[in-house]
Symmetry: C2
Subunit: 240 residues, 2 copies
């Protein structure tokens, strides 16, 4: 079976959390929006009246007859099928709980540059973005990073992965979060990272896995840019 | 087994989505924070070094040996155990997808009154809250309500419930969203509701279910107030 991933072309965005899982699984997939006329195909599916279970927004994954929306839900589906989730129900709920917490963090990152409305340009909400970002880097980011550091410390199988002794999909997503935060807030992260050595080490551990390393150096990995979730606006990355 | 629900006393908040499922299931549960010294017990558990799978934040549910965090994850666990989820894997993924979309909506509602920082008072972000709320009621709320109306229309088993011919947990959550939006934005909702008759009818259908009706008229249902997610600030509920 060949998966079809539907997401915006040109940004990592939420789709990247799915791409990382598909790449680590070496799954057969097509990134539809990057094909010729692909983004139109994505929107056509989103607007089609024939879809019984319409997604609210990209990303969504087509897996044979299934059309699955919501990033964390897609990963919940893919995880057990590609050896990227724990084997027990309790373990899968825990993995999903971590993924949903990552989703909350990612949502807050988006709102650092769009605190008022996604429909407005960044420049039309810059003063508000400055206030929100100050709170994010001083209060929220440390809270989340500290949480994942704690999860790594508590893992009875060791601090190499979030869950047990093997990689699971939330590890891939936490890698992406660290990469994104470094891109968006390099000054703040230089200050913050030493406090979370296990999170930082996990980022490196994932980045150097053969399939992930190959993906990151391929042209399938879209560079970070100022249209995605993690954006670098120097005026927001200030010491406060 | 008696479930233990851990959430803040005094607000509906995210805990309410879990309470509604437990009430409809007539499940045996204790709302820990409302017991004597309960909120302290909740924080003790949150801070305890003995918890192998620490939650990031309330709500969390204790179910025998399991401690489950993240509202949608708790509902994913409870659903099949209490006949509040579809029987197939595809159906459960769809239910969860809808629940995660509701979670996104609820998150946006929170940010109408706290667009800058949860750690600041509302009065310290009132101008920003006015801007964000205007976008929410004019653009985001119609988009979400229109989406759920579409899901009800597309349901091949009829428009009484979101999924199939029976109530599932996302129905309970959508009821709560409509109730909350009516409380927070009565003027906007008077204008919006006629456009989404199936969503409005679903709200009534859930509200009049015997167990839900009994719950809503009991003192277990905490009234909406200005500490929760859905807050009524008249200055935000304006025609624009």
């Amino acid at each position: 079976m060949r998966y079809e991933l539907y997401y915006w072309a040109g940004i990592q965005g939420l789709g990247e959390f799915v791409r990382l899982a598909l790449e680590e699984a070496r799954a057969d997939y097509v990134d539809i929006a990057r094909e010729a006329d692909g983004e139109r195909a994505m929107l056509r599916l989103l607007d089609s009246k024939d879809v019984e279970h319409p997604p609210f927004a990209p990303p969504y994954l087509k897996a044979e007859e299934l059309l699955i929306g919501q990033t964390a839900n897609i990963l919940f589906y893919l995880g057990p099928r590609h050896d990227l989730a724990p084997p027990t129900e309790a373990g899968r709920l825990w993995a999903h709980q971590l993924q949903l917490t990552i989703a909350d963090l990612v949502d807050e990152v988006h709102d650092t540059h769009h605190p008022i409305a996604s429909s407005l340009y960044y420049k039309d909400q810059r003063p508000e973005a400055k206030r929100r970002t100050a709170d994010f880097v001083n209060s929220r980011a440390p809270k989340y990073l500290g949480y994942f550091e704690k999860v790594l410390i508590r893992n009875k199988a060791g601090s190499e992965y979030l869950i047990g002794a093997n990689l699971t999909y939330p590890d891939l997503s936490l890698f992406q979060v660290v990469a994104g935060l470094r891109y968006a807030f390099p000054r703040a992260m230089t200050r913050l990272e030493p406090k979370y050595p296990r999170v930082t080490a996990l980022h490196e551990r994932v980045a150097t896995r053969p399939r992930i390393a190959a993906y990151l150096s391929s042209n399938r990995r879209i560079p970070f840019n100022e249209h995605g979730i993690f954006r670098h606006y120097p005026e927001l990355d200030v010491d406060t």
